[in-house]
């Protein structure tokens, strides 16, 4: 590591750090500056109901996290350690909901759940679990998949019962994955916007929803700013604490792909039943969403679909957003956002894994946007970039930048573990092969990153497609994205707009699924090349 050129780490770290400073820290600072006035904090925090909102946000996030970890455990195990026909499809089925826009998931559960569940906390939690199972499957499944089978065999020959094996060998080695999954799910559910908006109703707002409501409806930007800072404080603590634990818990071991076909009959039965239940669990809400877009009253109808492009609520009265145009806008933004995220995220991951102590600062820094209200990001940008020379508020690219802010942490989190788990001796071996330290370093890292980068690009594009909170602020007439359009349609109570909302959500669902599928294949192809 000492033999790498001195300019390398700064060169890697500077662009992401600069981007973070300009597009995130500065807007945040502007918000905070607005807030730090004598009395205004007390006034905003004293507004009726804030304590209740904060409490609800906390407990629903914890409940969602715990429930997701529990529900996702079995699927993670089966998908990580067994090869079986349809495994790829099942993995995709589990992953798609996570990449779906929160409005789509919210729409699916609006379609699925009975009316008595609408506007309740349990609807929100159920949707959160559905959404985030993929996190558990991937982040817990990743270390589980490379957990050498012989390690558990060794434990068994030492007298460990299956439960003891789980407790003393598997779980400790899964701990980094469990922590990572738990943190991500908590962050996601704490700042959840679309799902809470659609399913929680006016009676169950989280901090995020309340921030948006204050700013976009009440016009109380100062109050929204205070809540944003409060939310950020809570989450910064969570992220810092978890990052500390995760690094301490990371144990480097020579993982080997431990997936195998189920051998015994009982193993096969176990795998089959978990796979079946998981498949049904994942498919049902989305299937219902699609089918509801074809239903009007008690019968089937194509009317919602046929009238989708007209953007009319009633003759002459416009919905205010053209659903089909929003599709084009969303796709454009997604491509740009993915490009930015992968570039910045790749540089950051390389920099963080090479920089040790300074890297940790950038690591935490890049995670902050994840923990910050997406709405806050949008709000901050809106009030910061409104005067020359940074009068970018009306610029088209500000929205994809906002999306990239949210997507880059995911890219980094995907790339970092790959970089960090490159065994030290592989690096050493590369260095002794005669190439310059820089070339060796680059070759080793790039080889391991090729596949994750392709996947990350797809993930970033999917995140951009679905981003709702920040876009709500920056959206301008004529360039609305699909989530905005869907939320507007589903905000109405009439049957046709609802069905149209389900239809548009279906389109977004299919588009996102396609992007993910392509990205996955790209990753697989790369692996075969390597």
């Amino acid at each position: 590591m000492n033999r790498l050129p001195r300019w390398l780490v700064p060169a890697l770290v500077a662009p992401p750090a600069l981007g973070l400073a300009v597009f995130y820290l500065w807007p945040l600072g502007t918000l905070v500056a607005r807030v730090v006035r004598p009395g205004s904090i007390a006034e905003a925090l004293g507004a009726p109901g804030i304590a209740r909102v904060l409490w609800f946000t906390l407990w629903q996030a914890v409940a969602s996290t715990v429930l997701t970890l529990l529900v996702g455990f079995a699927p993670a195990y089966v998908l990580a350690r067994y090869r079986f026909p349809g495994r790829r499809a099942l993995l995709a089925a589990v992953t798609v909901p996570f990449m779906l826009p929160t409005v789509v998931v919210g729409a699916a559960f609006l379609a699925l759940l009975p009316a008595s569940w609408h506007g309740t906390a349990r609807a929100v939690i159920v949707a959160h679990v559905f959404f985030n199972i993929a996190v558990v499957v991937r982040l817990v499944g990743a270390p589980w998949a490379v957990l050498p089978t012989d390690l558990t065999a060794a434990a068994r020959t030492l007298g460990a019962s299956p439960r003891q094996v789980l407790r003393h060998v598997v779980l400790p080695l899964l701990r980094p994955g469990l922590w990572a999954a738990g943190t991500v799910v908590f962050l996601f559910t704490f700042t959840s916007f679309g799902a809470v908006r659609l399913l929680g109703g006016a009676a169950n707002p989280t901090l995020e929803v309340e921030i948006a409501r204050r700013a976009t409806q009440l016009g109380d930007v100062d109050g929204a700013a205070v809540l944003s800072v409060l939310q950020l404080a809570v989450l910064a603590i969570v992220v810092w604490w978890s990052a500390r634990w995760q690094r301490r818990a990371t144990v480097q071991f020579h993982g080997a792909d431990s997936t195998r076909r189920a051998r015994s009959r009982s193993q096969r039965r176990q795998v089959a039943s978990v796979a079946a239940v998981t498949a049904v669990m994942m498919a049902t809400p989305l299937a219902v969403l699609v089918s509801r877009s074809f239903r009007l009253g008690d019968g089937w109808s194509l009317r919602a679909w046929r009238t989708l492009g007209s953007a009319e609520v009633r003759p002459g009265i416009s919905l205010g957003v053209d659903p089909i145009a929003s599709l084009a806008t969303s796709l454009r933004f997604a491509v740009v956002a993915a490009g930015i995220s992968v570039t910045v995220g790749g540089l950051a991951a390389l920099g963080i894994s090479s920089a040790r102590r300074r890297g940790r600062l950038l690591d935490v820094g890049l995670m902050l946007p994840l923990g910050t209200s997406a709405v806050t990001i949008g709000l901050g940008m809106l009030i910061t970039f409104d005067t020359a020379p940074v009068d970018w508020r009306a610029s088209w690219w500000l929205i994809p930048v906002g999306h990239a802010l949210v997507a880059t942490p995911f890219v980094v989190r995907a790339l970092l573990p790959v970089l960090r788990s490159i065994p030290a001796d592989q690096r050493a071996a590369a260095a002794t092969l005669g190439a310059s330290p820089l070339r060796a370093w680059w070759a080793i890292n790039v080889r391991h990153l090729r596949r994750p980068i392709a996947g990350s690009a797809g993930l970033a594009a999917a995140i951009s497609l679905g981003e709702f909170g920040a876009t709500t602020f920056l959206t301008r007439a004529g360039s609305e994205t699909m989530p905005i359009a869907i939320a507007r349609l589903l905000g109405r109570t009439g049957e046709i707009p609802r069905a149209q909302g389900f239809a548009l959500a279906t389109i977004l669902l299919v588009t996102t699924a396609l992007i993910i599928a392509v990205a996955e294949r790209q990753g697989v192809l790369d692996a075969r090349d390597a």
Binding site: A202, T216, L218, R332, V335, A394, I453, E495
Partner: protein, 335 residues
């Protein structure tokens, strides 16, 4: 492989950058945008025909952008002040005017374009079928006879919703209105986000609506709309107005500060307050024109209700307390 990927992404980014920049640049000469609330028609009505005439005369094309309910529209305008989404904004009312002026939304003074009264409307047929008298006053709405029948709009997002809230504040006093709303909530009032949803999706008396609520907060001029738009045509109004529940609402329009086309915007403002445009208002937006010289159509004078003594609160009081009232209302009714 990676090179191809990166090149592809870079190329697409460049293409996207060179493409449409999202609506804030117009290539056609002298085209401006009118920002209005979501119930403002964007095409096919006489109002739109009038605008087409304006375009033919002046060469200025007008595109209409609807920005949601009034509360959202005004807040968005305040947030984008100086860099507006359009050139002229229509529909800020007296309840939200302070929000607009505080946010420095307008260039110069906004002008009055119409007025009306926000009142509780009732479905005549629904009540007569059951032999119940429709509610006459605000206090009547608390009676168990009218439980679960009323739909109102959220005063945070909707201006008629806010107007109704102000009416109850004026009625019950600053110390009593919270109890009023607690009682109203307990009596099963339904809250929706915007007037459009309340009237056209939840109200049973609106033409084309599948709603089941016979009481809605709407306008004193809504009954004429039901007569005019009825299909098949009818000669009597299917809905009525509880005149003792009305709040006087005045709507304004103005040039948005920072508009790239201030001259054209000024011309449009002139047109919006001209007789040619104003005479279409009663039967399209179902409001009273600001200009006294416009002759009101017969169906309007016959079926619209103008209360003798609508509730009124002075603008300064509204400006000072609006946010707080909205907050307290949210706490009482929604949480």
């Amino acid at each position: 492989m990676k090179h191809i990927l990166f090149t592809g992404i870079a190329a697409t980014m460049l293409l996207a950058a060179c493409g449409d920049d999202g609506g804030s640049g117009d290539t056609a000469p002298a085209a401006i945008t009118l920002v209005a609330y979501d119930s403002f028609p964007t095409k096919d009505t006489p109002l739109n025909e009038a605008l087409t005439e304006f375009t033919a005369e002046t060469g200025i094309a007008v595109s209409i952008v609807t920005a949601g309910d009034t509360g959202t529209m005004v807040t968005k305008a305040a947030l984008t002040a100086g860099n507006p989404e359009g050139d002229v904004m229509w529909g800020v009312d007296n309840t939200l005017l302070s929000a607009a002026t505080d946010g420095k939304v307008f260039d110069g003074e906004p002008r009055v374009v119409d007025f009306g009264d926000v009142c509780v409307n009732y479905d005549i047929a629904w009540f007569s079928e059951r032999g119940i008298e429709p509610p006459a006053t605000l206090d009547d709405l608390l009676l168990p006879d009218y439980a679960d029948l009323l739909v109102v709009e959220n005063p945070t997002s909707s201006s008629p919703g806010l107007a109704f809230l102000l009416a109850t504040i004026q009625h019950s006093g600053e110390d009593g209105w919270q109890q009023y709303w607690t009682a109203l909530r307990d009596n099963g009032v339904e809250v929706v986000d915007s007037w459009d949803i309340a009237y056209y999706e939840r109200f049973s008396g609106a033409g084309g609506s599948e709603g089941d609520k016979p009481l809605v907060v709407s306008y004193g001029s809504s009954p004429p709309a039901e007569v005019v738009l009825a299909d098949p045509p009818r000669t009597d109004a299917p809905t009525g107005v509880s005149a003792a529940t009305c709040f006087r609402q005045i709507e304004y329009a103005g040039v948005l500060r920072g508009s790239p086309h201030p001259d054209e915007a000024a011309q449009l403002m002139e047109f919006l307050t001209s007789e040619r445009f104003q005479r279409e208002l009663p039967l399209t937006l179902f409001v009273y024109p600001a200009i006294a010289s416009v002759e009101l159509p017969e169906v309007f004078t016959k079926f619209a209700v103008i209360p003798d003594d609508p509730f009124v609160i002075d603008p300064d009081t509204i400006a000072a307390n609006r946010q707080q009232w909205q907050d307290q209302w949210t706490e009482i009714v929604l949480r």
